[in-house]
């Protein structure tokens, strides 16, 4: 039966790919086979444009316990037999169509990746991108995504402790929703997702299978267009209650009965197809599944629909034959369905039956061998023009306008306090949250030890858009800086590559350069890439999203009781670390100030990775020597916004230091709001600590500049002068005001 273009479009397969399949099979595929191949060869599952680039990533290190791609998430040795697993994944396309369920199931999906490895999820983070919030549709997406993340995470009882949000016109209509999860547990409880041992049975646990999400993986691998809303059936619906039961059952299985099973695998994109095929591929085995045994929640589902359904909250368990009954009983006790749907075979084939009829029989090797495409990158037109814009040509900020500019930035959609968001998320459940959202990184206590895990996500898409390689380097560097700022040691990253259509040369350029940039910075900072995800085809009819290689960084805090926050104590001296205060106009490149004051995103982002490593090592050493009382990454919004955030967090003003205010240099805008990299603002309590810091800075060749003393209720820095309460109101009320589309924050108004 020749296959028509419509059928191929449904499975997002090109004619050439179909011809490749014919050559591999030496026959026409059945309908079910074609659906399975389409899903597994999609970009979402098959990484056909990105895998050829992954060899650039440094992936090993003394603390890395897993091979990249070998399991669902990367695992890190935390010492004393503890380990952490973490991963970030996108759920962009579903969130664009149905923001609440799209975001909620994004959270659900990443949670399953973690507890599939036998680890207990202890933290969630969300990296979000939207179009500007002055647009009603963007506000709708924003509110829906935030509600969906909260709706799932709050219900399941895993704290949402961090993430970031950035708005830019390039994300209008194509929001990015990247969910990250961290799990911890004992190394000996790590589970594998391999279908080992021919003769062992395949057990499907959790939700019944419906028609939701069919073609989700392929939907994620095409551009969004006017008809995308018609794809709503491809968006899944979440049931966090079911997932809570699954999570508890799976963690119990791992912690107490790991010897009962061979493998545990979640069902995510491409549902049963990818779950079963991937676990067989890992083990070098085959699978034989009878779809008639899969419990359904809808009538008359075809084998094709059962194999490709992306119904949520399902897991595939491969018990050892002798423990089948034990495993089934454990899930029953958690009031979950568990049904035997198939068997592990030794023939390396995926055999799918519907009762007596075989509807697919295809080599695992074919399913697991998606085509690989070399990118054909070309430097985007106009990039060089944007890079070489002369920023000195913009008039400097007038001193009398500086305070208003600070207020404007603090209340802007990209810099305002994220409290409006995170107060809707339970960030404390499990009672391990030592450093809560609102600072640089969150710190999660590893109860029973003195240790903690620091987690942060980062990526400034504007900088990546200007210079993909440097911007990606900066994303890694800033995420590492966030971890250092809370007293942690950066250990490893997960990445989530959000790009447009890689078949377009300029997107290919962004993708390739970004991967190289991530690799550069990971090598320089000693943080290997242990897991990742790619989301391509993030395009609407108006164009691609900003290239956004989101970085999720994990760090270790050796003494969790010494974790730092951004808030100084009364009387602390605030010190800029890593640079002098005066800065050149070049540091305005891609800055929020330039975007707001001059409606311009231009300039040449810059980072020196050796210097970055040196500054980070200096701050870590200063903390190890008990010199610091607080620390804050100095990046978005520049020095003035960073210092103001620290003062707002402490409820303190800022007074000039005894020996006079710092000189701001020839460019006021660059000194206050320039976004030079590799900088921190730290707080020092005792005079002798400041002396110690200076000596240490000499050893590390790191510049320092005293900015002021955190005290009182007025914020004074150079020409900046405002009551700290007005700055707090600007920052904490900013997002609420923008979302309400009015000047008054309804929440502030109600309480006033």
């Amino acid at each position: 039966m020749p296959v028509d273009d419509h059928t191929l479009a449904q499975v997002a397969m090109s004619r050439a790919e179909y011809e490749r399949l014919l050559a591999m099979l030496d026959r026409e595929p059945t309908e079910v086979e074609l659906g399975m191949v389409g899903a597994l060869w999609s970009e979402h599952c098959g990484y056909k444009h990105t895998r050829p680039l992954f060899h650039h990533f440094p992936t090993s290190g003394p603390r890395v316990l897993t091979e990249v791609g070998a399991e669902n998430a990367g695992a890190i040795d935390l010492g004393d037999g503890w380990c952490a697993v973490f991963k970030m994944e996108s759920h962009n396309h579903p969130s664009a169509i149905e923001p609440y369920e799209g975001a909620a199931t994004g959270v659900g999906g990443i949670l399953r990746d973690i507890f599939a490895m036998g680890m207990r999820p202890v933290a969630l983070l969300d990296s979000l991108r939207f179009g500007p919030l002055d647009d009603a549709h963007n506000r709708h997406l924003f509110a829906g995504v935030v509600a969906g993340i909260g709706g799932y995470g709050n219900c399941i009882g895993v704290p949402t402790v961090g993430g970031e949000v950035q708005m830019d016109a390039a994300y209008s209509g194509n929001p990015l929703v990247n969910a990250m999860c961290v799990g911890v547990g004992r190394v000996e409880h790590l589970l594998s997702a391999a279908a080992r041992g021919p003769g062992n049975l395949l057990v499907l646990v959790g939700a019944d299978t419906g028609r939701d999400g069919i073609h989700g993986a392929t939907f994620a691998s095409v551009e969004l267009d006017e008809d995308s809303a018609e794809r709503r059936p491809a968006v899944q619906v979440g049931n966090p209650f079911m997932e809570k039961l699954l999570m508890e059952a799976c963690v119990e299985l791992a912690e107490h009965h790991g010897d009962w099973i061979e493998g545990l695998q979640d069902l995510g994109a491409a549902g049963l197809t990818s779950s079963a095929v991937e676990s067989a591929n890992r083990a070098g085995t085959g699978i034989d599944i009878d779809v008639a045994r899969v419990p359904r929640r809808e009538l008359h589902m075809t084998p094709y629909e059962v194999m490709l359904s992306e119904s949520q909250e399902r897991m595939l368990v491969i018990p050892k034959r002798e423990h089948l009954e034990d495993v089934l009983a454990l899930f029953r006790r958690w009031e979950l369905h568990a049904d035997v749907i198939g068997v592990v075979t030794d023939d390396r084939m995926a055999t799918i039956r519907d009762g007596d009829e075989v509807v697919a029989r295809i080599p695992i090797a074919v399913l697991s061998d998606p085509p690989q495409y070399d990118l054909e990158p070309a430097r985007p037109a106009g990039l060089d023009a944007r890079l070489s814009v002369d920023l000195t040509a913009f008039p400097d900020l007038a001193p009398e306008a500086a305070t208003a500019a600070l207020r404007d930035l603090l209340g802007s959609e990209n810099l305002a306090s994220r409290r409006w968001i995170f107060r809707q998320y339970d960030h404390q459940v499990q009672t391990n949250t030592v450093v809560a959202p609102g600072g640089d990184a969150a710190v999660i206590w590893l109860k029973g030890t003195d240790r903690g895990v620091a987690v942060a996500s980062d990526c400034n898409g504007r900088l990546v858009g200007l210079d993909p390689r440097v911007g990606a380097q900066i994303a890694v560097a800033e995420a590492a800086r966030n971890v250092v700022a809370v007293g942690g040691t950066p250990v490893a990253i997960t990445d989530c590559l959000n790009f447009g259509n890689p078949e377009r040369p300029e997107v290919a350029y962004e993708l390739e350069q970004s991967i190289l940039g991530l690799a550069d910075a990971c090598a320089a900072l000693g943080t290997p890439v242990v897991s990742g995800n790619a989301s391509l085809y993030n395009e609407t009819p108006t164009g691609a999203v900003l290239p956004t290689p989101t970085v999720g960084m994990l760090g270790i805090v050796d003494e969790v009781r010494r974790a730092l926050t951004i808030a100084p104590k009364d009387g602390d001296t605030l010190v800029l670390v890593g640079a002098e205060v005066p800065q050149s106009a070049d540091t305005l490149a891609g800055s929020e100030y330039l975007a707001r004051a001059h409606r311009t995103v231009a300039g040449r982002p810059h980072i020196d990775l050796d210097r970055e490593a040196r500054v980070q090592n200096f701050v870590r050493e200063a903390h190890a020597r008990w010199l610091l009382s607080a620390a804050h990454d100095c990046a978005d919004g520049g020095l003035a916004v960073t210092v103001a955030e620290s003062c707002i967090a402490a409820g303190l003003g800022l007074e000039p230091p005894e020996d006079g205010p710092p000189a701001l240099g020839p460019r006021l805008d660059a000194a206050l709001f320039g976004e030079a990299q590799s900088r921190f603002v730290v707080a020092v309590t005792e005079h002798q600590d400041l002396e110690g810091l200076r000596r240490l800075a000499g050893e590390y060749d790191v510049p320092l500049a005293v900015i002021g003393v955190a005290t009182g209720d007025r914020f004074r820095l150079g020409p900046l002068d405002a009551p700290i309460e007005t700055l707090r109101d600007a920052s904490e009320g900013g997002l609420g005001r923008i979302l309400a589309g009015s000047a008054a924050d309804p929440d502030v108004a109600r309480r006033a």
Binding site: K244, R423, Q424, H427, Q428, Q430, T431, T433
Partner: protein
């Protein structure tokens, strides 16, 4: 004394409660909701927070039919101590062990934030040990914590000293601004007629260690401990 921490499908504060109780030296056992065996007379029964049955239908509305709730009812009727936190409070209201109902927050949003509480009476085992005018900082984490009862019920509760906690500001003033969810009369927790059953929306188990943002929540457990030797639970 010992505690029995109940686990319904969807409960997520059970581990937090076990840990917080251990911080003040109270040993606990977890009890699965299908287990209807009786509690010891001196056992503190804890209904923790969470989303029992996903909060589908209505918060606590399904959990109240769990077999273990018969044991809870008998324990309460016999004068045994029962505390319901957050979802546990909702379950106790649905089960008729406490008056009133928890409605959607007036913000129509979930809220996880610090709140300040004052004990509105000092005659119960849960509040006896809390100094008058002491302000406790204890966080909330809920979407449906807006306490509602009709005016006559509220008057009767107040007259009988059965309002356990009210939301206040950091100085202890009970103000509309300090009310995080729209609860009538700033009510954060109520007692049963016999004062041996407490339901409260804030999470005392979350403030059990300075590392986690304070230890004000321990005041409630310590009050219970101090109440026990004074006359036993039955006489409390």
């Amino acid at each position: 004394m010992r505690a029995a921490v109940l686990v319904f499908p969807g409960t997520w504060s059970d581990g937090d409660c076990v840990y917080a109780l251990s911080c003040v030296g109270i040993e606990s056992r977890r009890v699965w909701h299908r287990d209807a065996t009786p509690f010891d007379a001196d056992e503190l029964v804890v209904l923790p927070g969470g989303f029992s049955y996903g909060d589908y239908l209505r918060c606590g509305a399904i959990a109240r039919f769990s077999p273990v709730m018969d044991s809870v009812r008998r324990h309460a009727e016999a004068g045994g101590l029962v505390i319901g936190i957050c979802n546990g409070f909702q379950i106790l209201c649905e089960a008729g062990l406490l008056p009133g109902v928890l409605m959607r927050n007036d913000s129509l949003q979930f809220r996880c934030q610090p709140t300040h509480l004052v004990a509105a009476e000092h005659q119960s085992p849960f509040t006896r040990g809390i100094a008058r005018n002491r302000v406790l900082e204890v966080p909330i984490s809920h979407g449906e914590g807006n306490y509602f009862a009709d005016e006559a019920t509220l008057d009767a509760l107040e007259a009988a000293g059965r309002v356990a906690f009210r939301y206040c500001d950091h100085a202890g003033n009970v103000t509309p601004e300090a009310n995080p969810n729209g609860s009538l009369r700033n009510i954060a927790g109520v007692l049963s007629e016999g004062r041996n059953v407490l339901g409260m929306m804030p999470h005392p188990e979350r403030t059990c260690d300075p590392l986690l943002g304070g230890e004000d929540g321990n005041a409630i457990w310590l009050s219970i401990l101090s109440a026990v030797p004074l006359g036993g639970i039955m006489g409390a």
